[in-house]
């Protein structure tokens, strides 16, 4: 990474006081010319998948080959997810803050020439409002960002996650220093309690109460106490925690160190799923850098407080995101949950008091310590304070990473920030909370998105994935999809989960083939309740949620499958028929040429017909028809 900080890197020395930290921050800021151009390339997962690494390389090569004067020479910075994944790869040019979307390597020369040298924006690359066509110059102008309240994501997409100097410039580790030098551990716990922070992993258990519980357990049974980061985010459609870990790893680390100080822990673990190699790399680097500066390890900031942490990689099991399974996994045993009648703050990792919090929860801790519990609890709603990061995915225009205050309405998130469904029609449903969450219909669009409101509506906050569906998504198919996922991911320990999820999925398979009766729908509901009541861990007890909520809000669609043998959304292949509207068909023969069954016939320039008996309902004809003449019923 070319960060311009290389000169300072060699002067690395342990920081031994708060003044040291301030001095280093000042030194880094002063070493930079604020007018120097910076090319900031998004290296979040979405942009990387769209080739942003190639763009960075193209910039580096072009700059090396160019004859730009040294004083105009821009720096290049790569960052974590900048948020608006749908329009990636994203490149921002500072100090102007120009926001370029869908950049290609072939645009690089032009950007250097026009924007860097001539200081002019390139209209073509500016983000344009999909509805009005209006071009926005900077991030702050774009409605997607304007409507958000970015606290956790504040630095993500701005700082280079591999460079601790960038983080320190942005105020990193100030909260840790404040806690160490001005607060007692008890005051830190009290501050977290007062802030109302609730666990961002799904259940929303108050973090302060958890910490207090661990302190009480240590008092009762003795230590040691462990602090653990749950970075095993595995929900389909969720990438919040991954983005935080690879975009701002120091935030998680700082939160963890503050937690360790408050609880008296000497050892911490970061359990990160193996499928997040970038997060692991960046966290590892962050820890190394923090150790070099005396912010982690022995005698942190010369205060006598010592704490170190290690990364444990998951091995691909979704269930290891469940607290007790996560502990057994760290202990080196198979990731099977145990009943939590004795809470993990009392008997967690190796049977010792343990505080396990989600990545986003830990990342909230430095904010609370730095700005105070009163400031924090003024954001959001009374019983769900602060902000929440969501991943907007599915049938929504602005797919991406979003952060809003708790209690923001579903429609603000999906329709205003997300831009709504691409077709412009109202959304059909939103699945919140991943496979364990529930499906909320369009009628719930005014629902405030906070822990309690979502639970009351039959869904849950979960980790924060929001999958938007439109009229072409079949609820039976959606429930089946999530059940299949959980069936694969069940640990198999308890019978309701191991046997029940398979049998529920089989019933749904039958529905998608039109097999079943209204009695079967009732039975599915009863079996769902049995799994919900009977399963051992949260994976099992929450697994029926997608099924139960779709049954609650879209029962008609289930009935249509079994009684009328119809799939209203046109998804379940056994229940649909493709046909050609003779009035709209121009006889162009495009569909006939593409049909793998060769079952579309007709004379050129005359309406064609699909032979329904031979049709395999692959839908290629519908996709290729430019005249909207292929219909499904």
């Amino acid at each position: 990474m070319m960060t311009g900080n290389t000169a300072l890197q060699s002067e690395t020395h342990r920081l031994t006081s708060w003044e040291d930290l301030h001095a280093l921050q000042q030194q880094i800021i002063e070493a930079h010319d604020p007018n120097q151009s910076r090319i900031v390339v998004c290296h979040g997962t979405g942009c990387m998948a769209n080739g942003s690494a190639k763009i960075t390389r193209a910039f580096q090569e072009a700059l090396e080959a160019s004859n730009i004067e040294a004083k105009v020479m821009p720096g290049i910075k790569t960052t974590g997810c900048q948020g608006l994944c749908a329009h990636g790869p994203l490149v921002q040019i500072n100090p102007q803050g120009l926001f370029y979307s869908r950049v290609k390597p072939s645009d690089v020369e032009e950007i250097i020439q026009k924007t860097i040298v001539e200081k002019k924006p390139i209209e073509r690359l500016l983000y344009k409002d999909p509805d009005t066509g209006e071009a926005h110059h900077t991030e702050a102008d774009i409605p997607f960002y304007k409507l958000q309240h970015r606290l956790i994501l504040k630095n993500i997409g701005k700082i280079d996650p591999t460079d601790i100097h960038d983080k320190i410039t942005a105020g990193g580790y100030q909260a840790l220093a404040k806690a160490l030098f001005t607060m007692t551990p008890e005051e830190v716990v009290a501050e977290i309690e007062k802030s109302g922070l609730r666990g961002r992993g799904g259940a929303g258990f108050p973090a302060g109460r958890k910490w207090r519980g661990a302190l009480a357990a240590v008092k009762k049974k003795g230590g040691p106490v462990y602090v653990v980061v749950n970075g095993d985010e595995g929900d389909p459609g969720a990438f919040m925690d991954g983005s935080i870990m690879d975009g701002d790893p120091h935030a998680v680390l700082e939160g963890l160190i503050i937690g360790a100080y408050a609880l008296g822990a000497e050892k911490g673990y970061l359990y990160v799923r193996a499928e997040y190699p970038l997060a692991i790399k960046h966290l590892d680097l962050a820890m190394q850098q923090a150790r070099e500066y005396g912010l982690l390890g022995e005698n942190i900031l010369n205060t006598g407080f010592s704490f170190d942490a290690q990364i444990n990689r998951g091995a691909g099991a979704f269930v290891c995101g469940e607290s007790t399974a996560l502990f057994t996994s760290i202990e080196g045993k198979p990731g099977n949950p145990r009943p939590k009648y004795v809470r993990s703050v009392e008997e967690g990792l190796w049977g010792k008091p343990t505080v396990l919090n989600n990545v986003e929860t830990w990342a909230n801790v430095p904010l609370i310590i730095e700005k105070g519990a009163d400031w924090y609890s003024s954001i959001g709603v009374p019983h769900s304070t602060g902000t929440k990061v969501f991943c907007l995915v599915g049938k929504v225009k602005n797919v991406g990473l979003v952060e809003v205050p708790m209690g923001t309405s579903l429609s603000t998130i999906v329709e205003k920030i997300g831009g709504g469904v691409p077709s412009g029609k109202p959304f059909k449903a939103v699945q919140t909370g991943g496979p364990s969450g529930g499906c909320l219909p369009y009628e719930s669009r005014d629902l405030p998105v906070d822990f309690d409101s979502l639970t009351k509506a039959g869904s849950m906050m979960g980790s924060g994935a929001m999958i938007v569906m439109d009229e072409h998504d079949c609820v039976v198919d959606v429930a089946r999809y999530f059940l299949r996922f959980l069936e694969e991911e069940s640990c198999g320990k308890c019978l309701p989960c191991r046997l029940g999820l398979t049998r529920m999925r089989e019933i749904l398979d039958n529905f998608s083939h039109g097999i079943g009766s209204e009695k079967d729908i009732e039975d599915l509901q009863s079996l769902s309740k049995a799994v919900q009541d009977g399963a051992l861990c949260a994976l099992g007890t929450s697994a029926p949620n997608p099924c139960l909520t779709t049954l609650k809000f879209f029962k008609d669609e289930y009935v249509a499958h079994v009684r009328d043998q119809k799939c209203p959304a046109g998804v379940c292949k056994d229940l649909i028929t493709y046909y050609i509207d003779p009035d709209a068909c121009t006889g162009c023969r495009t569909c006939a040429k593409q049909c793998p069954q060769e079952c579309i016939t007709g004379e050129k320039k005359k309406p064609h017909v699909i032979d329904a008996d031979n049709c395999i309902r692959c839908g290629i004809c519908m996709e290729t028809c430019k005249f909207g003449a292929v219909l499904v019923q």
Binding site: A317, Y341, E487, C494, L495, P496, L499, S526, A530
Partner: protein, 201 residues
């Protein structure tokens, strides 16, 4: 002593007892499959679920592992419990059709047939894990363990290959509630030098 209620009747338990231990002490029937006094409880079969009530609030807990506490109210026969048990039995009938023990138990709870498809008509192991706990906790060998995950979970020796670690003590066979271990132990022993016979009762 800890005093609490089971089915509205006051009961007393020693500290450290579970709800199941207390219920059995008082002769209150709660069905179990994966529970045995000789090994630690795992709470896997979920047949022993009981309802814990506090005012309007209630939840089902596994009695084999739920520690007793002063003043709690436990119910052993409710609609919710019945719903869980009946579905488990109906699914077990399809899962382990070769086990007469399971069939008999299911009949006792009113489940005599299953709507679900049978994968293997000869299957009699429902992976309750009593055998592996016995091997680990009583024998101290862990020659067998639970392998794989979810629907693929099964009992066996490491890498599904015969192992010399097994001493053919027969503990697993004795503790197995369906007799499946009589068949499975063949694949665990390196060379079956001893012929296992069912213990005379």
């Amino acid at each position: 002593m800890i005093t609490f209620q089971i089915n509205d009747t006051p009961v007393e338990a020693e500290p450290g007892w579970t709800v199941l231990e207390t219920a059995r002490h008082y002769g209150i029937e709660i069905p179990t499959l994966c529970y045995h006094e000789a090994v630690s409880p795992s709470g896997a079969c979920r047949l022993c679920m009981v309802e814990l009530r506090d005012g309007d609030w209630s939840k089902l807990v596994a009695s084999c592992i739920f520690p007793v506490a002063e003043g709690i109210r436990i119910y052993t026969e409710t609609e919710r419990i019945d719903n869980v048990r009946r579905w488990i039995f109906e699914m077990l009938l399809a899962e382990v059709p070769a086990s007469p023990e399971i069939r008999e138990m299911a009949t006792q709870y009113g489940v005599e047939s299953t709507r679900f498809s049978v994968k293997d008509p000869d299957e009699d192991c429902m992976v309750c894990g009593l055998c592996t706990r016995a091997c680990e906790e009583i024998v101290g060998l862990s020659a067998i363990s639970l392998m794989s995950r979810g629907v693929h979970k099964k009992v066996g020796a490491p890498f599904s290959r015969p192992t010399e670690v097994c001493v053919a003590c027969g503990c697993c066979v004795t503790i197995c509630p369906t007799g499946a271990m009589r068949r499975l132990i063949e694949s665990v022993r390196e060379t079956p030098e001893v012929t296992l016979t069912p213990l005379a009762v």
